[in-house]
Each structure stands twice: as C-alpha cells, then as structure tokens.
C-alpha cells in the first residue's frame, strides 16, 4: 500500500474526526447507490472499515468526502461483482441538445407551464431513485452533492467526458420522468385536452 507521510500537525485523531464527521454524506451516497436501507448501512460500515484500514493513504488537507465517496463507490462495485450483477457501461454520446428539444416539447404540450407551478424536488428525488446505473451515481455526485465534473470523474474512476455523457443522459431521463409526472397528475396539456402529442 502506498502511504503518504503525515504532516507535522495531522494526527490519527484528526483523521478520525475528519472522516467520522462525513458519515451522513456517505450514508446518503450509499442510499443513492443501493436504494435499500439495510444495504446502505452495510455499505457505510464497509466504507469506514476500508477507510480506517488505509487511513495512511488519506492526504491531509484533501477533500475527505470525495475520498470516502471513492471508497464507497468501489466497495459498492465489489458488492455488485460478488452478486454477479452487471453494470451497463454503454455511455453513448453526450446529449446536451436532447434536454432542450424535450423542453420544447414540454412547452408545446403544456407540461412545462404546469411544472413551473409545482415543487419539483420531491418528484425529482423519486425520479433519481428510478435511474439506472451508471447514470444515478453520476447525477447524485454532480447535481445533488455538488461535485465538479473532475471530482466526479475521480470518484467514479472514469474520464471527464464519460461523466458528462452520463450526466446529460441522466438529466434527460429525469426530465422525461418529470414530463410523465405532469401527465400523471393531470397537468399535461394532452391529459386535459385529449389531443395527441405533437
């Protein structure tokens, strides 16, 4: 294991305090990955076991949350491998224009106007839970946790271009689900007029 020399002022006690203070963040990230309370708790435990076993690799002064997210993500992937479940690695191309085109359709069918009057955060929280990997973890890192593309690429272990691609496609899927949300609630223009979509 590669170790980083401790600075003169950074102690093991400092490490404990730094990483333990991030447990709420790690739990939230673990929940977004597993979508299951029990599995998330197991993943948090595994993350902290790994973190404490390799505490010498933590760079004093670096972002502890990002370091823990990386460990958490890797532990999650190991769990998936153990369960012999597959993760789609088909990233495709960035879809920045897709969201604009979709919003244009939403303006036409009236759902955009209706969505403007609704509190979107609860609907989006449900929609995120329905996203498949690898889009979900990318959206969580960038859009919910506020990580930059570069930071997310370090956590996920993929190039920045892949982060962008996954992010744009994930956002597009979320917006599709918002459109459905407006329709299901009877807010969409088609729902009220019975006219087919354009």
């Amino acid at each position: 294991m590669e170790t980083v020399p401790r600075s003169g002022t950074f102690t093991r006690g400092d490490f404990d305090k730094e990483v333990l203070a991030r447990m709420d963040d790690v739990y939230r990230f673990a929940m977004s990955l597993t979508r299951d309370t029990s599995q998330a708790e197991d993943l948090v435990q595994e993350t902290y076991l790994r973190a404490f076993r390799s505490w010498q690799t933590f760079q004093p002064g670096s972002d502890a949350r990002r370091w823990l997210f990386t460990i958490c993500r890797n532990a999650f992937l190991r769990t998936l491998e153990r369960d012999r479940r597959n993760i789609s690695l088909d990233d495709g191309d960035p879809d920045a224009l897709g969201a604009v085109m979709l919003h244009g359709q939403m303006l036409q069918d009236g759902s955009a106007d209706r969505l403007a009057k609704l509190d979107l955060a609860p609907a989006l929280a449900d929609a995120i839970a329905k996203l498949n990997e690898p889009f979900r973890s990318t959206v969580i890192l960038v859009d919910v946790e506020g990580q930059a593309y570069e930071e997310a690429s370090e956590v996920l272990g993929v190039p920045i271009g892949t982060v962008r691609s996954r992010l744009f496609r994930g956002r597009r899927q979320l917006q599709e689900m918002l459109r459905e949300y407006a329709r299901d609630a009877g807010f969409g223009g088609n729902a009220s007029t019975g006219k087919p979509h354009e």
């Binding site: 404990d16 333990l20 447990m23 709420d24 739990y27 939230r28 929940m31 977004s32 309370t37 708790e41 948090v44 435990q45 902290y48 076991l49 404490f52 076993r53 920045a96 224009l97 969201a99 604009v100 919003h103 244009g104 939403m106 303006l107 955009a112 403007a116 509190d119 979107l120 955060a121 609860p122 989006l124 929280a125 995120i128 959206v139 960038v142 859009d143 919910v144 946790e145 506020g146 930059a148 593309y149 962008r164 992010l167 744009f168 956002r171 979320l174 917006q175 918002l178």
Partner: protein, 85 residues
C-alpha cells in the same frame, strides 16, 4: 434558430449544461451569456434548465436521514476490528 455574435442557437444550447455547471472557459461563458441575453427562443430553455438543476440540488433535503443507530454500529465495528481505541 438565431445567431448572435457568432454563436447560433444550436451551439449555445449544446453548451447549456456546461455553462450552468460552471465548466466553461470565461470566453465561452461570455458567448453563451450574450446569446441568452439576445435570444428569446433559447432563454426559456435556459431558465427551465437552471430551475431543474436548482431543484435537483434540493433533493439532498428530500432524502431520509441516516438512522441514529448507524454511527454507533460503525464505531463498534471499528473498535472490534482494532481500528479505533
């Protein structure tokens, strides 16, 4: 589709996510900003995208809090593994 200062609508909208995410160079930021200031077609898309991202950022508040017992469980596990005193 409109064109302002050399940046047409397609080019501006293709940069919209990067623009809102703060991932563009200052020159590209200025170009997109100028386009949005002058293009009535693109501005609604940008405003919706901005709100969409703002609401996504609020999702952290919508998630259930960590169970109160988990911190004790983790600490207990770390101690039993000899990783904490």
């Amino acid at each position: 589709m409109n064109s302002h200062e050399g940046l047409d609508c397609a080019s501006a909208m293709a940069r919209l996510w990067d623009y809102l995410d703060g991932e563009l160079t200052p020159e590209k930021v200025a170009a997109v900003r100028e386009h949005l200031a002058e293009c009535a077609d693109c501005l609604p898309h940008a405003r919706f995208a901005e709100r969409f991202l703002g609401e996504l950022g609020r999702c952290k508040e919508c998630q259930p809090p960590m169970p109160g017992t988990l911190r004790d469980k983790v600490m207990s596990t770390l101690r039993s593994e000899g990783l904490m005193s």
